[in-house]
Amino acid sequence: MELSRFPAYLAGRLVKAAIVVLAIVVCNFFLIHAAPGDPASIIAGQSGAADAKFLEQLRAQFGLDQPLYVQLWVYLKGVLTLDLGFSHRQQASVAALLWDRLPATLLLTGAAFLFAIVIGVTMGALAARRVGSWSDSVITVLALTFYATPLFWVGLMLVLLFSVTLEWLPSFGMMSVGVELSGFAWLLDIGKHLLLPALTLGLFYVAVYARLTRATMLEVADQDFVKTARAKGVPEGRILRRHVLRNAMLPVITFAGIQAGQLIGGSILVETVFAWPGIGRLAFEALLARDYQVLMGVFFCTSVMVVLFNLITDLLYAIVDPRVEVS
């Protein structure tokens, strides 16, 4: 990649990304409003005073009596100033709610992501190196098992084993309740809580990376330039690291980009199973409560993540693979 062209390229990509995010926001808005039921009717129903007049009043208060296009306009104006609205249910601004939950989710998904990449690629590389041997078979079978097992079930089984039977690890939450911890002990406590959910979330991707790495490495190992390296007397270990693995990483990067984008949205199930106080659970609760503003906020947040990680992947690709032209 030529560095001189990089700023223009990045600017272009950012403009495109902004347009995409805006389009997603509009789509989300209409999707949510197409669903039956609105927050006013839920609140009215729960407060037990569902007469028509109270409903009208609530709707007027939330701005729900305005025509749809006006509501959209108001919302869009808000999004552009990063004001994502107000959750009447939780009596807090959506941005504050998201901001509150984001670190927990990023911690969980980031840990799962790293775990998946490191373990997955290592397993795949080992399997490819000893293709046909018993260790290859073990890894392949293991990967297939992770791949085929549903997430929540893995989560429940891990809890059953490590929390209930062995009592090694806590089964829910992000930190121990009722204990004041600081420094290293605090970190260790969070780490203990993190282990099971991150494992659960990451296992599926471990399988994907292991299979992807193994397949690509075997494919790359057959290519001419590997033979060239062998012909110039490069030792096998070095061939594997410098020639095969590096080239095999290209599809892995592509997939890692997709996974990174999905991590925030994809953690709903795991956050629910482990009562992890993140965005996923926020979304789940908002959905049950028909909390439009929060839901749209979560969608906005996840779509920004997807677009952002797409961009990062493309940039990374341009750095790793010199053949990618930024034009």
Binding site: Y9, D224, F225, T228, K232, G233, V234, R246, S327
Partner: protein, 537 residues
């Protein structure tokens, strides 16, 4: 002279289920320092296997079953993997056929050469040696090239990098496995000259593997001819080239396109196809980057008369295929007239084109990729006529006749393409094109992917069919000998334009354009005229 390499009675097995028990059988050859030995043979003859055995690079499935290899006085077979590795690159090096894939796409070429030095403990010298080596293979601005990734270099430049890498540790033996096969003719001539020059300067022994007798004539001191895993003839270059003894060598040499135009009936001025002012440009870039415009075809007017064969000759990227594809609308030019019997085809709609589809047919280069692997041969041939309203029974009947015409067994109808060899598939492709009873046949490098003996058969077949059916043909090729043999007139293309157009004998005998002259000068073995050999039955 010192004996560098001796291979004695080498036998390498093939996995069970292959078409023969041994990849190479009882092969004996030797190479002195300062000598170039050409190993010649068609695909599958075992020449690459022999070379890979010497290098210790045999794939796992192929066991050495017997024989001995002595290199610099030491037996090679039976050496440990590490001992072989330490010799590879240092004492013996190899250059491969495909320059496009033989270099690691993610590593700078300088780093790849430096790696060869580093793995043999000479990493400290790399900084000084890499530019030296790149300069030694005549690459301009070595320092800049060293920092480039392979994709920035042309095929010829990459092959030079490969040679520089092979020479890094000054090996005593260089094995070159078809190093010029994937290159254009002018580049090929340069690379051959380079190998010869370096070999003489350093006194290396070179084992040069090729299928092209022109290349053999250009470079070989001695020749070994391989057929089905055995060496059938060995001798000095002039012996083997001019007085071949073994029937197989004689077949191969008589199959070399001789480049002599045969007598043909006179062609009257009865235009079938005329290209006037056809222009095709490709653009790249958008939004923010600078726009790059490539003129693929421009200034390429020609007229093709009834019954005539016009050869479009040029190197890769010259626009010859694009021009031909414009005629059948696989490429849509943005300007100009494509006159077929006086009617302009260019502005026609898809619908308007339909009646012309069957009158203009095309045969493609790659016999493996141009047939649908899931369709029986019979279906592939009858599909066209049936879509154009011929009854299936009649189409089948015609397909059977065509198979006979292209000298295939009628039983081919119910078989799948993978059951046929490359030459047979190219005949199927030809039958498929002829099934439409076209007036104009466009053949895009129809024999380039074929072994020389098969190539000769397909060329003979084309000549015969052309005469019998009175076909008009546009014949695209990069091989000037082939063009000379089959074409009435030749159009030489360079960078999208026809730079010279004239009767074959004139273009070859008295080329006017400097580019035509340089093309003709680059034909490998131009000093060698294949001997007229008695027909072998």
């Amino acid at each position: 002279m010192t004996r560098l390499l001796t291979v004695e009675n080498l036998t390498v097995g093939l996995p069970a289920g292959a078409d023969r028990p041994h990849a190479v059988e009882d092969v004996s050859l030797h190479l002195d320092a300062g000598e170039i030995l050409c190993v010649v043979g068609e695909s599958g003859s075992g020449k690459s296997i022999t070379a890979n055995t010497v290098m210790g690079l045999l794939p796992k499935g192929l066991p050495v079953k017997g024989g001995a290899i002595t290199f610099e006085g030491e037996p090679l077979l039976g050496l440990s993997a590490e001992a072989m590795r330490s010799r590879r690159g240092r004492r013996m090096a190899m250059v491969f056929q495909e320059p496009m894939t033989a270099l690691n796409p993610l590593m700078k070429v300088g780093d790849q050469i430096a790696e060869a030095l580093a793995v043999h403990g000479k990493g400290a010298e790399a900084k000084a040696r890499v530019p030296e080596l790149l300069a030694a293979v005549n690459l301009p601005d070595p320092a800049a090239i060293a920092r480039m990734h392979p994709f920035r270099l042309s095929g010829g430049q990459r092959q030079r990098v490969m040679i520089a890498m092979a020479l890094a540790l000054e090996p005593a033996l260089l094995i070159a496995d078809e190093p010029t096969t994937a290159l254009d003719v002018t580049t090929q001539a340069q690379i051959l000259r380079l190998i010869r020059e370096i070999q003489q300067r350093r006194g290396m022994g070179v084992m040069f593997i090729t299928h092209d007798f022109g290349v053999v004539a250009e470079i070989a001191d001695r020749v070994a001819v391989m057929q089905r895993g055995r060496i059938v003839e060995q001798g000095t270059a002039s012996e083997v080239l001019n007085a071949p003894r073994h029937p197989y060598t004689r077949t191969l040499i008589s199959a070399v396109p001789h480049g002599r135009a045969s007598d043909r009936a006179a062609i009257g001025p009865e235009p079938v196809l005329a290209m006037k002012g056809v222009t095709k440009t490709y653009q790249r870039g958008g939004w923010f980057g600078a726009r790059a415009v490539v003129k693929a075809v421009h200034d390429a007017d020609f007229t093709l008369n009834k019954g005539e064969t016009l050869g479009l000759v040029g190197e890769s990227g010259s626009g010859k295929s694009t021009l031909a594809r414009c005629v059948v609308r696989l490429v849509e030019p943005e300007q100009g007239e494509i006159l077929f019997h006086g009617a302009n085809l260019r502005p026609l709609s898809r619908q308007g084109w339909l009646p012309y589809r069957k009158r203009i047919q095309m045969v493609f280069q790659d016999p493996y990729a141009s047939l649908n692997p899931r369709r029986k041969v019979g279906d592939a041939i009858t599909e066209g006529p049936v879509t154009h309203g011929v009854s299936p029974a009649e189409a089948r009947q015609r397909a059977l006749e065509l198979l006979r015409l292209v000298k295939l067994d009628p039983s081919a109808m119910d078989r799948y393409p993978h059951e046929f060899s490359g030459g047979q598939r190219q005949r199927i492709g030809l039958a498929r094109a002829l099934a439409m009873q076209p007036e104009l046949l466009i053949a895009d490098e129809p024999v380039s992917a074929l072994d020389v003996s098969v190539q000769a058969q397909v060329l003979d077949l084309l000549a015969e069919i052309r005469q019998r059916l009175g076909l008009t043909m546009l014949f695209i090729t990069h091989d000037l000998r082939v063009a000379a043999q089959i074409c009435d007139r030749i159009a030489v293309m360079q960078r999208g334009a026809i730079v010279e157009l004239g009767p074959t004998a004139e273009v070859f005998g008295a080329p006017k354009h400097p580019y035509t002259r340089s093309l003709l000068d680059s034909i490998p073995g131009r000093g060698w005229t294949p001997p007229e050999l008695a027909e072998i039955s």
